[in-house]
Symmetry: D2
Subunit: 303 residues, 4 copies
């Protein structure tokens, strides 16, 4: 099938390659001319503007938008929507907030443009292994998109999970779960590193991969990371977070669902980026106030 | 090789079968005559006492003890140790506390009996898939045990992780990580169930298994469980915990390692078994005290 | 001074009484005629509509709105704003979301009506002890309001904490802190109840009130509650939450500030209201899947 | 009454002064001759050894031991016990682990020496305000000790909470609650500091002290600390913990009581002392593995 791809970064660029390998006709655009040239070299039709992209595709069109989430996604989708025709489909493949996707879809629907929200997981491994795709939208739109989904995903690796918004909702929660799983391993390996047995962390990661209850793809990556740098000495304890972990916790609060591990994982990422945290300084100040702890820590217990 | 197996329950019984399939000579004992008969039928030499087991095996012996952790394990190992000779090996394959294993091994060592502690993961799936085995002890003892480990584990599925105690230490942490991972999925799926999109939880579990970052064996089981009973309506929200999750948190506290997700997972299991928790009733009492909330909840926010 | 009071429930009614006792002239309105009659009996001028309230007060007016937070507050404030004149002041004394207050104030400002947001703490005790008031708005508005604030608050019990929105921001966080403090006591008293020493909880609450580090007003209430019902047997473990605890966590997530205790306290309230939680049933399902735990729990530890 | 005091540090020294002011006869010992001299100057009978202390007191004796918890306490109490007579009373006023106190008391009881465990709260403020004392032991022992307790505590500030061990049990939980309360304030004030309203933290601490639900002694100290150093710029985000917080969490795990806020507070103290935490580096490593995040963080969200 023919599909437009807007955004040719690490994700969109690889997806373009995978679509081309799957025999699809890809019309590719990015703000970087270099990225467009690279896609063209791989076999795509490169275009230098959204207008050119729309002009290069006969209706009914399907265009996959794969740009950083937030304002850029919204602006890109809205601009595209203004250029496209009733019956065209725009896929938001980024990590947009599900409520934003619902609103954006409603806005596009006024002009008859259909929106699909596709939660996309797999990172840089997706090029070879396929992307797990959680897709929301109407049956009609997703049926037309399905040949591309079949190519992008591994076998059984995509699903139509509900109306528009549902794709990003499921992907949001996916990332929340991922945060907590990563944190679970992080705690376990830190505990092994802290104990007295001189545990070889890479060896444990490897053996857990074979037959244990905790085997997983994240554990495979853990083993790779510990193989490359057993003490993780080349890394800083500084962990960014994308919006989806935050939205998961905020949504849980809206829905009154307790999510202690997801919240703890998120808070640990926040804490990793704090320097001389105010709250901890207040604790030190209070200890000083009630116990004179700064002066004679040896008796520090008498709180 | 010849190996004794003491304890022929779900775990020990299956391990006996797997060892027999692997061509080993198993001398099997359990307090249940029925379990012994069943092992004998599968090809083991059944014996009706620890004395008979020791008598049936020429030195140097290797005996795997697979009984419920705690007092029974200690009593069984001590009794066996008293019957065995210097140079014999006892394997504690249960979920003993690592510090208990260290102490027990020191006690056996006084009579020259070697102890190996084997953390065993895999549950009822281990019979077919193999057990992940994390083993602690001396090189000599583990070398002699290795033919059995090769059979019990899947390829690359066992490791000598350190001196005696290390096996149960690593297994303890394995279970702590497992608790947090299970909790992560539980939160995510509850959140999907609570949202407005009418998500098909089984479908999501299946699609996440293919190409997503959160794919894992626990997710495979989640998909199986949701396939069998999509709304999990036949289950109670009542979750036991074995000792290892508790020991993980207590060890983390001893080592001053923050383990918020493992602790949260453990606390949630505790909470699942509380009925009309006192702490929550105290919260209700306080709300009533400061706001008369029980009387006029409509203005309940003015705390 | 003259002040209008809209909303004569538990909070607004008591504040009216306190204002009257302080010598102020209160024009009082509520949708309940009974509440109006009661305020009139206490000395207020009762009116049966917002229009009548505005008509009864010469400009420049100050009207305190004390209705349940959310839609009712917004509607009431907007309606009042439409009736009032430039230079008039509306005080939102409820538990509104701070961002809503900022937006509402901006809307009122288009007509020259000033808004003050007053976070109000003290519950039913405020009538006698005074209300702690955290007030946001312009210097001019708050100066005009200050005689009422002096009466409503105990000595040193009100503060102008910033521009409009700041009052509800500080009150929101106040409630988040309160949730975590309540939870801290709840955990401690549950732990005392669970231990082996037969602790008299009321006795401990009383002794902690005198000289201990944890003495507080919430502890005073704890002692009262335990005095009235030592085993808290007349209460259910069911704890509502108002919006402010939720907003605190959501704001913390927006600001990337780790708030583990506030979140834990909120999640515990959510959990107290869950019946047969889906997440916990999923944990039970997983245990069943990997270990056949439902069948032979005695060996349940081999996860 | 006559009472021996062993340990004249910040706590024991101040308690000696308070006892002397109350008209008691104090026989005082410390390993520091300087501390003994200082107590003698205040009116105590200074002695330079435990032997001298026992010799200076006619039976039946009461000796209060106020030395750092742990090995020193145990050694001091055991030595004293060996020197004393049946019917004498030793008070352990330190922060000992309750189970250690139970064991120590059982050991002393073999020689007829009675032990009382006194949990002591109040810090450096206790000298003037009195110490909150939670006391465990037999009725007989505590009755004999009560004149000293009346002097040391503020009115209603001591209680006989149960048999020996109960005093330290209640004090342990007191400290666990204290950790969580401190953390609650720390989170709240950090959140105010992080927001956009330019909140004056000292002003808020002050106003909350008057009429708010969260008023407490810890809040009084918070206000003092913020008065002295509004930005807490002279402090490091480094927070020690004494044993009691840890024991609270470990005991909660033993008793299967969920204590999420106490555990979170403890973990935050641990985290405050971690430098480049291994677990956080593992998170960074995993992000790098699955997303190439280190290379192109701009698209970091596609996890």
């Amino acid at each position: 099938m023919q599909i437009g791809m807007v955004g040719l970064g690490k994700m969109g660029g690889n997806m373009t390659v995978r679509l081309l390998r799957g025999g699809h006709d890809v019309v590719a655009h990015d703000v970087s001319a270099e990225a467009v040239a690279s896609a063209a070299e791989a076999g795509a039709t490169g275009v230098d503007s959204l207008e050119a992209l729309v002009a290069a595709m006969p209706a009914p069109r399907i265009v996959w938008v794969m740009v950083p989430s937030g304002e850029i996604t919204e602006r890109t989708v809205r601009t595209l929507g203004g250029l496209m025709d009733a019956g065209d489909v725009i896929v938001d493949g980024g990590n947009s907030r599900f409520s934003d996707s619902v609103a954006l879809a409603a806005s596009l629907a006024e002009d008859g443009v259909l929106m699909v929200d596709a939660g996309t997981s797999g990172g840089i491994w997706g090029l070879e292994e396929g992307y797990c795709l959680m897709v929301g939208g109407t049956n009609e739109a997703i049926e037309r998109l399905s040949p591309a989904l079949e190519t992008l995903a591994p076998p059984d690796g995509w699903a139509h999970v509900g109306p528009v918004g549902a794709g990003h909702y499921v992907k949001m929660i996916h990332n929340g779960v991922e945060y907590a799983m990563m944190q679970a391993y992080a705690e376990g390996f830190e505990l092994m590193a802290a104990g007295d047995f001189g545990i070889d962390l890479h060896q444990v990661a490897e053996v857990w991969r074979h037959g244990s209850v905790v085997r997983s793809w994240l554990l495979d990556l853990t083993a790779r990371a510990l193989d490359a740098d057993p003490g993780l000495e080349e890394l800083d304890a500084w962990v960014p977070d994308s919006g989806e972990g935050r939205w998961t916790v905020q949504t849980a609060v809206d829905l009154a669902v307790p999510t202690p591990t997801i919240a703890a994982a998120l808070f640990n990422r926040f804490a990793s980026r704090e320097d001389n945290a105010f709250g901890q300084r207040l604790l030190a100040a209070l200890r000083n106030q009630f116990g004179g702890h700064a002066v004679k820590p040896a008796e520090g217990g008498h709180e």
